[in-house]
């Protein structure tokens, strides 16, 4: 589904990714671990299409509807419509824009793209209500402005709610576990696991092995200095947890 080849990418003039290769198939969950500054968040921003991050060379091939596109050539919204989703490490607050309007607009934009009929507000509220129940989110959030006055944990839950609404083919979860207490993490992981199918794929970026107890990865990668230096099964995460990164870096 996703094939990143020899990717070099920069932000504000400094090169962060230096020859990254990653291949993800439908049905797989890949975990990416790595020390601070290794390029984890840059990778997520590049996949989502953040305008301040530039691809210097290499390609990000993505297979959608039977054809392969270079994601880098698409606007962020076009990527989203093709089923690419980023759960933000730091979700953005948007004063004055109510959650209900935001989520419905997003859902209907994707519907229009696929030629599917849009959902009217009443049906959408019901649809949303079901999704929120899974994440144990109160209905009162529907009327609040997007992420405004949400606690850290609520913001992360809201990311997974958006993922549940948009039902992406490829989801990148950027440190979704940071700032979550153990109960919230179980709820968030439960929500993510519900969305896991044979047809979609996930990339879970995390500092800690902890989250991977709840979202079991098929493959674990260690990212360092802009490239993947080690890949393995889920036991690699445990090894990193126990020994740190030093043994891999030298």
């Amino acid at each position: 589904m996703l094939n990143i080849k020899d990717l070099y990418a920069s932000v504000e003039g400094s090169q962060i990714l230096k020859g990254l290769n990653l291949s993800v198939k439908a049905g797989e969950v890949h975990a990416i671990m790595g020390p601070n500054g290794s390029g984890k968040s840059t990778l997520s921003k590049i996949i989502a299409g953040h305008p301040q991050y530039t691809v210097d060379s290499g390609t990000v091939e993505y297979e959608a509807a039977g054809r392969v596109v270079n994601l880098c050539e698409l606007e962020p919204e076009a990527r989203a419509k093709e089923g690419v989703f980023l759960a933000f490490q730091y979700p953005v607050e948007i004063p004055g824009v109510p959650m209900s309007l935001f989520l419905r607009s997003a859902y209907n934009a994707v519907c229009r793209h696929h030629g599917v009929e849009e959902m009217d507000p009443l049906d959408f509220d019901q649809f949303l209500h079901e999704k929120m129940k899974v994440l144990e989110m109160d209905d009162k959030y529907i009327d609040r402005a997007v992420n405004v006055d949400f606690s850290g944990g609520e913001k992360k839950r809201n990311e997974i709610l958006q993922m549940a609404v948009l039902n992406p083919r490829l989801a990148v979860l950027d440190e979704t576990d940071s700032g979550l207490d153990i109960d919230s993490m179980k709820i968030v992981a439960g929500g993510v696991n519900k969305l896991r199918t044979k047809k979609n794929a996930m990339i879970v970026i995390t500092h800690y092995q902890r989250l991977l107890n709840y979202i079991q990865p098929d493959v674990v990668h260690v990212l360092h200095a802009g490239r993947i230096i080690k890949s393995g099964g889920k036991e690699l995460a445990l090894e990193v947890e126990g020994k740190g990164y030093d043994w891999l870096i030298k």
Partner: protein, 411 residues
């Protein structure tokens, strides 16, 4: 030696009115050297020729009916003069006291007038000298839950270069509550000078929601004042929307005179073209345990110019004051201009006061976030603009009024 002030050609048109203007002519005409007028240039106004309105002739556009608000008591003034046949006098709650014309002037000489001391004397004097019609509305003790009272001020520039000096006085009796709103509308791009004064007294335990929707011609000059005095435990929710004018200046002066009084002073400038709008607010905490909240938002495109000057006074006796003020500006073009000046003057030691001002463009991170959810850049921009505006519109308590104001503020 007598100083000759620039800009007093304005008085030429007032000479034949029969009103003695010699005192006026001696008052200084404000220039940019005055702190109060630093960012709003009155030279243009001073060079205009206007005549004080005396009567209204001619046909009213049918469109005035479109401004009527269902469920409210609608009153119509044209160029500052009351039009009884268009006004819904029969819908007034019989307990309310409503007077117009010279009758109302008697009531309008109020205890609130002295709040004008913060204002520029010449405009106060002009209104006092040339006011031709007025309205007094008294809500008696304990009366609440009545329909909103809506005054439509239609400004007909086609009549030709009129100077208009309306006067409104509101008295909300003890424990009473009322919703009062004024719509200012101009159906053409005519030139006129609008200089209204609104005074309100909110007695003990009473509440007032006061809304102004100022929709002027692009050629208009508007210099207006709102003065409100609040007694113990009273509450004010005020909101001023303006789409600007050639020169638009609005002063909102509130004094919290009784313990426990609360004021919410909010506003929105929605400016396009080369329109200008200047809001000066002044909240005076004169008693302990008083509270004020101010949010003024300004959205600008093209070559528009917005000015905000917000003052908070906390007097020595006003301990335990809570005061909050924020001015947020969203600029959508490179050529627009914003001047903002929050001011605090605190003389008590046990108070909580914050203020701030921001000026920014649409936030790139917010745009990106919306785009990553499949929302196009254009739709995302509209959503953020709408969100910026709605954030302050949500301060309007009455949902029907909020919807009407929202339409007027469409950007």
């Amino acid at each position: 030696m007598k100083t000759v002030f620039r800009g007093t050609q304005l008085y030429d048109g007032f000479k034949d009115s029969g009103v003695d203007i010699s005192a006026l002519a001696d008052m200084p005409w404000p220039t940019f050297k005055s702190e109060e007028w630093k960012y709003t240039n009155l030279t243009g106004l001073g060079e205009q020729y206007f005549t004080p309105v005396s009567r209204f002739e001619g046909a009213l556009p049918d469109r005035v009916k479109d401004l009527f608000m269902p469920g409210a008591v609608n009153f119509v003034f044209v160029n500052g003069l009351f039009l009884e046949h268009l006004s819904e006098t029969g819908k007034i709650d019989p307990r309310w006291q409503v007077k117009t014309g010279l009758d109302a002037m008697g009531f309008a000489k109020s205890s609130v007038s002295d709040l004008a001391k913060n204002e520029t004397p010449v405009f106060r004097a002009l209104n006092e000298a040339f006011v031709k019609d007025a309205i007094f509305i008294g809500v008696p003790q304990g009366v609440k839950g009545c329909a909103p009272f809506h005054i439509i001020h239609l400004l007909d520039g086609a009549v030709g270069r009129q100077a208009i000096f309306p006067r409104t006085f509101l008295k909300i009796g003890r424990g009473a509550g009322a919703i009062f709103w004024e719509t200012v509308a101009s159906f053409d791009e005519g030139e006129y000078f609008h200089c209204p004064v609104v005074e309100g007294l909110i007695e003990e335990d009473a509440s007032l929601e006061y809304i102004q929707a100022q929709g002027h011609s692009a050629q208009a000059f508007h210099i207006g004042s709102v003065r409100i005095r609040q007694e113990r435990n009273s509450r004010l929710d005020s909101f001023v929307l303006t789409t600007g004018a050639r020169i638009f200046r609005n002063n909102v002066n509130v004094v919290l005179e009784g313990e426990g009084a609360e004021a919410r002073v909010n506003g929105l400038h929605a400016l396009k073209g080369d329109r200008h709008a200047d809001s000066h607010t002044c909240v005076d905490h004169a008693a302990p345990n008083t509270r004020s909240d101010q949010l003024y938002k300004c959205i600008l495109q093209d070559k528009a110019h917005s000015v905000f000057n917000g003052k908070i006074f906390v007097r020595r006796e006003a301990q335990l004051t809570n005061s909050y003020q924020l001015n947020k500006n969203l600029i959508l073009s490179r050529e627009c201009r914003v001047d903002t000046k929050p001011q605090l003057e605190i003389n008590a030691d046990d108070v909580k006061c914050t203020h701030g001002a921001t000026i920014g463009q649409l936030n790139d991170e917010e745009l990106f976030y919306l785009q990553t959810r499949g929302i196009s850049k254009q739709e995302a921009r509209q959503m953020l603009v709408r969100g910026f505006v709605d954030d302050v519109l949500n301060k309007i308590v009455n949902p029907d009024l909020r919807a009407v104001i929202g339409k007027m503020a469409a950007f």
